[in-house]
Amino acid sequence: MALAPAMAPQQVTHPGSKIRAATTEPPSMRLLISAIALAFLGMFLFLPLVAVFSNAFAQGARVFLDAISEHDALSAIRLTLMTAAVAVPLNLGFGLAASWAIAKFEFRGKGVLMTLIDLPFAVSPVISGLIFVLLFGTEGWVGPWLSSHDVKIIFAVPGIVLSTTFVTFPFVARELIPVMQAYGNEEEEAAMVLGASGWQMFLRVTLPNVKWGLLYGIIICNARAMGEFGAVSVVSGKISGLTATMPVYVELLYNSYELAAAFAIASLLTSLALVTLVAKRLLAFSSSADLSEREDPATEKFAA
């Protein structure tokens, strides 16, 4: 019977029989489902990936290197790195504070705070960008005051940093809240009783407990900060060599038919995504090892 090889686990208990677990589908069905999933994956994920890299190197490594070492390209890379270098630490601080407050304290408006944290997820990035233009633009609420004091936010670097920070701020907090809630605060209480100050408690007990969740949040936040296009394209003014981040620069190149250069920069961003995925995978691995340790006392409690 064709069933036999696929049914190996069941055969241990029912040799030769056609009995199978209620949740197990026949092999033909499993094959079909797997095929659909793989075909989808290949078409929408793998194929574009190959296309990006093959197009980037279509005219040789020479052209690729020239494209990424051009003045405007370097400026875009610098601006992107700088934006992430500001936005990620800001969101790290905010994420720690927010998740700490939400996980460890009871206060009024907690639900509202949690909903607000998700706001950037819900709002289209273009709208986020527009909000900043409406706030800080020359026609905006505080724009005239800012320009009379010679502060430029829109169509300048501060606007890019601001909108990127806004778009990426849920990432760290979202990762940390469930982790902190799961740990509870018994260990913090133990540290306090033993004489630790708030700072010592945070550094020696809280932080080590949430470190994997925190790193995970930082990596995702960083990936999003470097890749943000919608909000940045609205507030930056897209001035090549001045206010164009890497994603915006890719669009500029593409619109001026410099396909090889566009794909060269795109391949850099794609590499970042791949590195992020690998790092994320490694972290998920380490944190699940930690999690399984954590379950120990719980199961014991249950047994007792």
Partner: protein, 358 residues
């Protein structure tokens, strides 16, 4: 160092956790806070530790008001119910924590810390486990690490929240005796919370029985067991037979049948008819096949359980109520009791009668 709490009140929303609780623990004493879950015992312990602030009332350590003193300055050792060990630190680091976080001026040198930690680990018989992580220890070992960690800072009082709650019965009994010996060695003023009466009665110098945020009775284990002050304590400590009856002119009757408890000390609040609750422990009942003096009531044997140090008899009384009696095996053999036998049950000692006016 003595601990005294005065008129502590604490509510969580609408729930009153502690309602005017006062209590004194003498220096070197081992006191149990005994009660069911929700009786406020853990809240009281956390208030003594400073982990929770009372709504009103004060906590005194050695005669001085410590209510305003922050938890990290109270110098208490606290053992959490689920130990709350730092899971990312080794056993050694867990025990060393309290010493490492001391301000620089009073912090011992690395060498001294190591010496002290190993001393403590020897005390709790875990010196060979110093490099392990808490997740690699058994429940009983974790409990001892938690204790060593609490003792490391040389606390003036030791507070334990359900110290044996998460352990299985055998380990629990062992650890209990071990903790008693440890306490006799160190003489540190200790308070522990438990819902297990056996644990409280066996381990503590004095037992504080709590119910619904109030203290029902404070006393030595034998005192609270043999002379319960309130109906609650009677029911809570040990098995007990409960009878609802009436008092008429000093005689207790149930459903018109005289219980035959004779000269039971009945507190009379005037009036000739009163409702009464009578408590009799199973071992306070004597069983006989024939009547013998009138101080008895009739019953039928419904079930016999002879597996154990005593023989347990389930009796059904004339008025239909179930009664539990415990007799020793010799007596059981003499009587040759079987299911369905009709017997006479006689209280050996005066039962405790609580009287309410109708």
């Amino acid at each position: 160092m003595s601990i005294e709490v005065r008129n502590i009140r604490k509510s969580f929303g609408n729930f009153v956790a502690l309602d005017d609780v006062s209590l004194k623990v003498e220096t070197g004493e081992l006191v149990a806070l005994l009660g069911m879950s929700g009786s406020g015992k853990t809240t009281l312990l956390r208030i003594i530790a400073g982990l929770e602030a009372p709504d009103s009332g004060t906590v005194h350590f050695h005669g001085t008001d410590a209510t305003e003193i922050k938890v990290r300055e109270r110098r208490v050792g606290f053992v959490f119910q689920h130990y709350a060990l730092f899971r990312h630190m080794s056993v050694f680091e867990n025990v060393a924590f309290g010493l490492r976080v001391k301000p620089r001026a009073s912090r011992p040198s690395k060498l001294d810390i190591a010496r002290r930690v190993h001393e403590l680990l020897k005390l709790v018989q875990l010196d060979s486990m110093a490099t392990r992580l808490p997740s690699q220890l058994s429940g009983g070992q974790r409990q001892r690490v938690a204790l060593a960690r609490a003792l490391a800072v040389e606390p003036s009082v030791l507070l334990l929240d359900e110290p044996f709650g998460a352990l299985d019965a055998k380990v629990r009994a062992e650890l209990r005796r071990w903790l008693r010996r440890l306490h006799d060695e160190l003489h540190i003023t200790s308070v522990f919370v438990t819902h297990d009466q056996e644990e409280a009665l066996e381990l503590a110098d004095r037992v504080v029985v709590m119910n619904q945020g109030r203290v029902e009775q404070i006393g030595a284990p034998s005192e609270v067991y043999h002379h319960p002050a309130t109906p609650f304590v009677y029911q809570f400590l040990g098995n007990v037979n409960l009878f609802h009856g009436r008092v008429e002119d000093g005689h207790v009757t149930i459903d018109g049948t005289p219980l035959g408890v004779g000269d039971a000390t009945v507190q009379r609040n005037g009036g000739s008819k009163e409702r009464a609750t009578i408590y009799l422990r199973p071992h306070q009942l004597e069983i006989a096949l024939s009547p013998g003096g009138g101080n008895e009531f009739r019953a039928t044997v419904a079930h016999i359980n002879s597996a154990g140090p005593k023989v347990k008899l389930d009796l059904i009384t004339e008025w239909g109520g179930p009664v539990l009696a415990e007799i020793d095996h010799e007596r059981f053999a003499t009587l040759k009791l079987q299911r369905g036998h009709r017997v006479f049950a006689r209280p050996k000692e005066k039962p405790r009668v609580f009287v309410y006016q109708i």
